[in-house]
Symmetry: C2
Subunit: 742 residues, 2 copies
């Protein structure tokens, strides 16, 4: 019996030692040259094995399935994908712990199938001289589906305005001002044709309406999207990645994101809905997008004076501004009519939520998401991202189901609905769970379009996540290169000189281009958006040419965007690596000094570009500089103390405190009073900005407005924003200071 007991004890002891070793094993070299080598004790072998598991063939196969049918939000195709995601995440072999559907009733906008939108040229006698195409041409087998929705400007109001055509470049305020003030053109009752770019989609109609324009036609200029290629015989898809002449970019024509009837509150059955007429930021006039084949008929027939050289484009003719068609031309004296029959409708849109419950800190969340809905087949936008998400969740789910691993923190996957209609699914979800998400979420990772092009990684993110992204990217081989990491390849394509780190890859700031917007700007959660993208020396395309058209298909993706799917794999490995580090590191892999550096850069830009103007008004930046330095000192001191902490795993409360400081730093930059006129924007460092000065947005905009104002109190708003920023920075420093206030 004794021998039996001893052997059991020995065995148990050995097991314990093994478990402890496994549990506490420290990697040889988790740190990079970025920041202090923080205690991470993450299982590097596990990360390696995760990355090895990311399978190009499965991504390819998933993308084929995901993009088989058009899947616009709430369509039959979308509903089928909801089922697919639910079934994948509930799978017994590689599913997650939980998978749920969360539905919101949100305002969407649709064209009418039997009453297609059109742009027509109408002769004085009423004859239709020209009719725009209803849908894209079908160039290749089985890529256009009867369910393809005709191009439309979502949320643009219905109406059939008619008038003389003018060409207004990109439809910016400056463009319309040029036509009226410089050229003396009366824009009242005209129809404006404008190209994509330069403004938000909805802004083109909003701007035009202020000048009396009654309808807007938006087209994609080949100069902006096709590097000038226009021929469908051999230059454009299916012969290359360039947009065929019939391709039309769809999109939402609204300025604000989220459900427009229920701002700040989840669009549930009980939720109060404002009147449609109270919605702000929608185009007030009918609008319709067309392809450049149709645009050529209109623009190349215009009369009037020649447009300035910067307004010229790739249609192969001299662009004139109108109003009206040339004399002589086949459309002489004719009007253009924009016939829009869009209907707005409240419809149920689903998010699919998949969860892996954390072992140690289930109440800390790392969220990874992408939208599911597309405009047409959406192979690239968004299914490239969804295929990557499915592959990451499959590999992790399998590890969990097989009992090999469970993350320290909870991982939440989100497949958002109705993103194309303005980030609706993600916004409603963050509204519904606003309180617990702000209290508990460590980070949000967004991978929407996983691969725009297969040249290099591209990351937008909070400065605090720079380090973890770099750590991950260093471990992933760059597709198409031997002995080059994604990190090194990225640095070759896009870099900057950091005062602390020297030359490093460039991480961009987060706008509101995808579902990270409400996580970051409204909830103050450290977020990032990861993708593979262009070699900018090889193309000037505004975006990949098939974007939001019927040509964004599996065939297009697999032949022209990422043959072999190795860039998809690289994104999956990088984003998954980041996800694992965030979910598993003992100490969160955030570097607060990188944030302080970013803030200092915002400050020096303010000092350089706004300082002289402010001095003239006796407005000092001294307090702001003081706060910048305070944050800098606090972050250095935080990192120093963190590097001295030993055995944090044995001091869970101390660990939790440090991690809370790391998690909540981003929240310090929120101020719900900073931007009363900007829906959801609360982040005083990175809110949207009208001024071109790349600094604190409230400050930059207030200065811009004050300079353009004759009100003696206009500069008060500048001082008010200086207070807001200074106070936010001091607060951020206090979050990093010791555990006590003051």
């Amino acid at each position: 019996m004794k021998v039996w007991l001893i052997s059991v004890l020995v065995g148990a002891a050995a097991l314990t030692v093994g478990l402890l070793l496994g549990h506490f094993a420290i990697p040889k070299d988790g740190g990079t040259e970025q920041g202090a080598p923080l205690a991470q004790d993450i299982d590097e072998e596990l990360i390696q094995s995760f990355m090895d598991g990311i399978d190009v063939q499965r991504i390819e196969e998933d993308l084929r399935v995901l993009s088989k049918k058009p899947h616009m939000a709430t369509s039959k195709g979308d509903t089928e994908l909801v089922k697919l995601l639910l079934s994948r995440w509930s799978d017994g072999e590689s599913g997650l712990d939980e998978a749920n559907k969360v539905t919101y009733n949100v305002l969407l906008s649709f064209p009418q199938k039997d009453k297609p939108n059109r742009v027509t040229v109408v002769a004085p006698n009423g004859t239709e001289l020209f009719k725009s195409r209803i849908k894209e041409l079908n160039y290749t087998q089985d890529q256009l589906d009867p369910d393809v929705v005709q191009p439309f400007a979502a949320f643009a109001p219905a109406g059939t305005p008619k008038g003389k055509l003018v060409y207004a470049n990109q439809g910016t305020m400056a463009d319309f001002r040029y036509l009226t003030q410089d050229l003396g053109i009366d824009l009242n009752n005209t129809v404006a044709i404008v190209k994509y770019g330069g403004t938000g989609r909805g802004d083109k109609g909003i701007n035009g309406a202020q000048f009396g324009v009654v309808g807007v036609i938006v087209y994609t200029d080949p100069a902006d999207i096709n590097d000038g290629r226009v021929s469908d015989l051999n230059e454009t898809y299916p012969h290359s990645w360039y947009l065929p002449p019939s391709g039309v970019e769809r999109g939402s024509y609204k300025s604000n994101f989220g459900d427009q009837l229920t701002p700040y509150y989840p669009a549930k059955a009980y939720t109060f809905r404002q009147k449609e007429t109270d919605i702000k930021g929608l185009s007030p006039i009918p609008a319709q997008p067309i392809g450049f084949e149709d645009a050529r008929h209109l623009i190349c027939a215009l009369g009037g004076v020649e447009a300035p050289s910067e307004w010229q484009g790739g249609l192969g003719c001299k662009y004139r501004v109108g109003p009206g068609f040339g004399n002589p031309s086949s459309f002489e004296n004719s009007d253009v009519q924009v016939s829009v029959f869009n209907k707005r409708e409240v419809k149920p849109s689903d998010n699919v939520i998949g969860i892996i419950r954390g072992s140690e800190e289930p109440d800390r969340y790392v969220i990874y998401g992408n939208h599911r809905d597309s405009w047409v087949h959406g192979a690239i936008d968004p299914s490239s991202g969804t295929a990557v998400m499915l592959e990451i969740s499959r590999v992790l789910g399998k590890m969990v189901k097989h009992g090999k691993w469970r993350p320290r923190r909870s991982i939440i996957f989100g497949s958002w609905g109705a993103e194309e209609f303005g980030l609706i699914g993600s916004t409603e979800w963050t509204e519904e769970f606003y309180r617990i998400l702000t209290q508990r979420t460590v980070a949000y990772i967004n991978v929407d379009i996983a691969v725009f092009a297969n040249a290099t990684l591209r990351v937008y993110g909070s400065p605090v996540v720079q380090k973890v992204v770099f750590d991950a990217a260093q471990q992933v081989p760059a597709p198409g290169h031997q002995d080059l990491s994604v990190y090194s390849n990225w640095m070759r394509h896009s870099n900057r000189t950091s005062p602390r780190h020297g030359i490093i890859p460039h991480v961009g700031t987060l706008g509101a281009g995808s579902d990270y917007a409400s996580f970051f700007h409204y909830l103050g959660i450290s977020s990032m958006d990861i993708a593979y993208t262009y070699d900018r020396s090889a193309t000037k395309a505004r975006i990949y040419p098939a974007y939001h058209t019927a040509y964004d298909t599996f065939d297009y993706a697999s032949r022209f965007i990422d043959p072999g799917f190795t860039s998809h794999q690289a994104v999956g490995r990088t984003a998954g690596n980041v996800l694992l580090r965030l979910a598993d590191s003992t100490v969160l892999p955030f570097n607060v000094s990188d944030y302080a550096e970013a803030v200092r850069l915002l400050y020096t830009t303010a000092q350089d570009q706004l300082g002289p103007e402010l001095s003239k008004r006796d407005i000092s930046l001294d307090s702001l500089r003081g706060a910048v330095e305070q944050l800098n000192r606090a972050s250095e001191s935080f990192n120093r103390q963190l590097s001295q902490l030993q055995d944090l795993r044995k001091k869970p409360l101390e660990l939790r405190r440090v991690n809370n400081q790391l998690m909540l730093l981003e929240r310090s930059f929120l101020d719900p009073l900073a931007f009363p006129d900007k829906l959801y924007y609360r982040h005083v460092l990175y809110a949207s900005r009208s001024s071109p000065v790349l600094t604190f947005p409230g400050l930059a905009d207030a200065v811009q407005r004050a300079k353009g104002s004759t009100e003696p109190t206009a500069w008060d708003a500048v001082c008010r924003h200086l207070t807001i920023v200074t106070h936010a920075l001091e607060s951020a420093a206090s979050v990093l200071d010791g555990p006590l206030p003051g």
Copy 2:
């Protein structure tokens, strides 16, 4: 050597067992009949010894010192008290770990010493027929000081308006409407005399100005404060606690709290200050308070019709409304002039902050505070509370300095400045540390006036603190009673029937009467205000009669408010007991089911009192009821799971999670968008309310406004508030639900 080793080991083992026993000892009976018996493992002996240490003589002696000189905010007396507090909290024997001064530059208002404010009666020929007193009479030795500040209406503008006198009862909108609409009196260019009560101080001038009133005189009617006593020969102080005829109630005449130039931001050197003309909620016309001796001269000489019976008071004459004096009367045809020379000034005001650093969770705060500034000597308001705070901090400081104890969480004591000018010191401090306080504060305990009267405990507080207050009050003997606890005595004076607990003491809701306001309404920190107060069968006094007058002295306090200081001691024991439980309990001693019960009561009131009106408009309360039930289920389930958790001290992360849920429940009820017009109010359950219906304030007020409106959209605001409350309740439930969303 072996023997030596063994004995050391045995000793060490014994020590360990002892430490563990001491550490984990569970009290026999910490629970009350309230709620689930939560694991608290607090050291009950330590609490008992703390309570035994609260010394009446020290409280008395401290109160004598604290109230020796007048100590209006920023005065010499105030500055001396700042030093006193700093020195006490830095004391080597019984001081705290840290003591700091935090200063804000805030807008205050002062009379001019050499240009005293006056109310005069001016005959048509310009002769002054009557002059109000500048200061109170000096009845007893050494209680009035040359530094006593003349009575004034802080923040009332300077000016010397003159006009016919009218008597307008309490100066409510209804009162002024009665005079104009029912009696047909033209109030333009009149001076109104009104009594305290019925409205905020500043509202009397705000209301009057809307009817053309040019100046306001505010007096204290003996019927409201003195149970009718008016004689200074034997009925009033120094013969009793009643107010002498010359006593004048000072106060701030403003509707909003905090520094008026820097709403939402700390009043630091860099902070943007709005223009004084942009301040909202100040009396737009000069105002001056007077005593009832002076008021009698004015009111008893008025002409015009008799005031209604509810407007009559205790001045010993028939009150008439004017306008102008009676015919005949010695003031016939005379005007009344209100001469106010107040000056507004930005001055530095200090908070003194004392800290005991927590051992296990230094980043969790229990805050205990009171203001330091008074209007005159302020023996009761606020020094009764300050003396109690000093005694609590002395006993705790001694335990810390002697190495006997250190709280699990950090304890922060705050001595706030400029409360009398509108809760300024506490508000600025909560603004400065907004982020870390909302992230880390467990509770705020306020003891301002510790003893109004010596009859019974009185508590205002968040429903979630009911249990810990009850637990504490049960352990404190009621002063003046044998074998009766503070709890049982309280229940005899003021109780209610709880659906869950049966008959229990009544805990009131938190308004904005003292420094808890910004902690609770702006930061959403579970707060309470604790005092000893009246036997309402013995007096109808609106407040203790010397309130805000020069008679609030040590002599008054020690002879008429709390002879023997045993009620001070009881408050110190109760509040200190609560403080210790909050700081030391393993699981926070909050009962979430008590919150759910309070919410249900708000709901049933809405259903009963607003429901019929809402049904008429087809507005359903079903979703709100659903959310109420959801919160109820979540709280029951939370308590059930909590009671099943074992050995939480050994599972620090699980413990931390549960405590975060308990701490953050209150925060769930905040919505920064709920009350855009109410400065600082974000708590959707307890914000200020105009409607008399005791339910969700936004809902009640929206219904009241809609009922009085002919706008077809007026009921939209009701639906909007239903959404706000429903969403807040659902969010609160999600905070209590498991660790994951959805």
